[in-house]
């Protein structure tokens, strides 16, 4: 190996890592699109994610967390692009206050949920957490770990996101 060797072996060899990336390309695009809301930026983000992932693939030592590792890179890339192109900074830790209603709010159904709601009614941070929790089925703790925020913040953000969508449905929201 050219360069400093790792004490531990990377999770994948190059060929397997490339397969891993290509297997998740549409996932990366969906994530990117939810952040950036247009196809060109999402495509550009996919390239950047692949670039950073390949460059740092040796740091992935455990295959069982590979998708989470990739997700984190995708989020970081999208946030960088948001900051660069739109001047938007996202701080997950401060997006929501403690949840005031400790109920099973996740059991609620909204009557109609549209992609447009996710893109336009919710903030970037809310979209991210909704995506990870409800699309990727991460546990609350996993979302918290991934975004390095308290579980309580994850809960409160989800709660607020659902409220926002419901408010939109009753005609009182931004949607």
């Amino acid at each position: 190996m050219i360069g400093r060797r790792n004490k531990r072996q990377p999770a994948f060899d190059d060929e397997t890592f490339l397969m891993f990336l290509t297997r998740h390309d549409t996932y990366l695009y969906k994530m990117s699109y939810l952040y950036l809301k247009n196809d060109q930026d999402a495509l550009e983000n996919v390239q950047e994610v692949a670039y950073r992932a390949w460059k740092h693939r040796h740091t992935l030592l455990d295959a069982t967390i590979a998708k989470t590792w990739l997700t984190r890179i995708a989020i970081n890339c999208a946030l960088d692009m948001l900051k660069k192109t739109k001047g938007i900074r996202v701080d997950y830790a401060t997006v929501a206050k403690e949840i005031a209603e400790p109920v099973m709010f996740e059991e609620r159904l909204v009557n109609d949920l549209y992609l447009q709601d996710l893109l336009e009614v919710l903030t970037v941070a809310e979209r991210t957490i909704v995506f990870l929790r409800y699309y990727e089925d991460y546990t609350l703790q996993n979302v918290a770990d991934l975004l390095q925020i308290p579980v309580s913040t994850v809960k409160s953000t989800l709660y607020r996101a659902i409220q926002k969508v419901q408010t939109r449905q009753t005609g009182g929201g931004a949607g």
Partner: protein
């Protein structure tokens, strides 16, 4: 809520071809940086050389970290000249190769057929130092393949290609290595002449963009006629750095802009040439663009 979110997110229209292209372009960009921006690995090796006494050489030679145009020629820096330290020196950690006489050699993609193995020639020397070692002597040669013995490749200068013979998991292992650093090229001839592309060809194969990363997907093709004119044009082509070619050519990892011609030569070695729309040829591990005569290029492009 879960199902609702899933249904809606799945409504995002996915341009699958473009997504795959962008993903591969990102991988290629990272790979290219490994191959050409030796800052990834060089930081460590150069630091090693400095540590063990190569400092004088490095200090006497201005560092050149990127492929640049200098005095009309394209210069791919010498390994030892490149003392950029990136701090991310493990990025190239999966590249099998070695440093020999202070130049970087990496394993070629060519299948090691019986023909190729018979090219193993005169023994050169044993390389036991690894890139992790430090010592009291100047280390000109260091390998990440484990201890290996270097041999000439019959028909090629040792400054172009080498065989390395060592062991992997207790079994004999052979690598065919090709030099990656220390070139000054003005025309295609300056680079390709030493690869002896003008020898007879056993067979040709081609790959589309989607297949470029897997040698087994190469399909036979008959391009004997256009190849000779194409090769002449390649030898006479102008070498250019990435910044000098149009953006569409520089960012060539797209289905419509790249085709791969794999040439298995009479001596058994297979080389890959990337044909880039717009009339350029790129040798896979060298980030130099060769601008080829448009007529010869077009004929070959359309034959693939």
């Amino acid at each position: 809520m879960n199902e609702q979110v899933k249904q809606e997110v799945d409504k995002i229209d996915i341009p699958r071809g473009q997504v795959r292209s962008q993903l591969l372009a990102g991988v290629e960009r990272a790979r290219r940086q490994r191959f050409t921006g030796r800052k990834v690995a060089t930081g460590f090796v150069t630091a090693l050389l400095l540590t063990v006494g190569g400092g004088m050489l490095l200090q006497e030679t201005p560092p050149a970290t990127e492929i640049v145009r200098t005095d009309g020629a394209v210069v791919v820096p010498n390994w030892a000249q490149d003392k950029q330290v990136d701090g991310d020196s493990t990025a190239g950690s999966m590249l099998p190769g070695l440093v020999y006489k202070q130049e970087l050699y990496l394993a070629m993609e060519t299948p090691l057929t019986d023909d190729v193995r018979t090219l193993q020639g005169e023994r050169l020397e044993r390389v036991t130092a690894t890139l992790e070692e430090t010592g009291d002597d100047v280390i000109e040669n260091a390998s990440n393949l484990g201890p290996v013995t270097l041999y000439r490749v019959d028909g090629y200068k040792p400054s172009v290609r080498l065989f390395a013979v060592g062991e992997e998991e207790g079994r004999k292992k052979v690598w065919l290595l090709e030099r990656q650093t220390g070139f000054t090229v003005t025309t295609g001839n300056d680079f390709f002449e030493d690869l002896h592309l003008d020898q007879p060809v056993k067979h040709f194969a081609y790959q589309t963009f989607d297949e470029w990363n897997d040698a087994e997907t190469a399909r036979p093709v008959t391009v004997d006629r256009p190849y000779r004119a194409f090769l002449n044009a390649l030898y006479q082509s102008d070498a250019m750095i990435r910044e000098e070619v149009p953006k569409e050519a520089a960012d060539y990892m797209h289905p419509d802009t790249m085709k791969v011609l794999r040439v298995t030569q009479a001596d058994g070695i297979t080389v890959s040439l990337r044909l880039i729309a717009g009339g350029y040829v790129v040798y896979p591990q060298l980030d130099v663009f060769f601008k080829v005569d448009p007529v010869a290029f077009k004929e070959m492009w359309e034959a693939l």
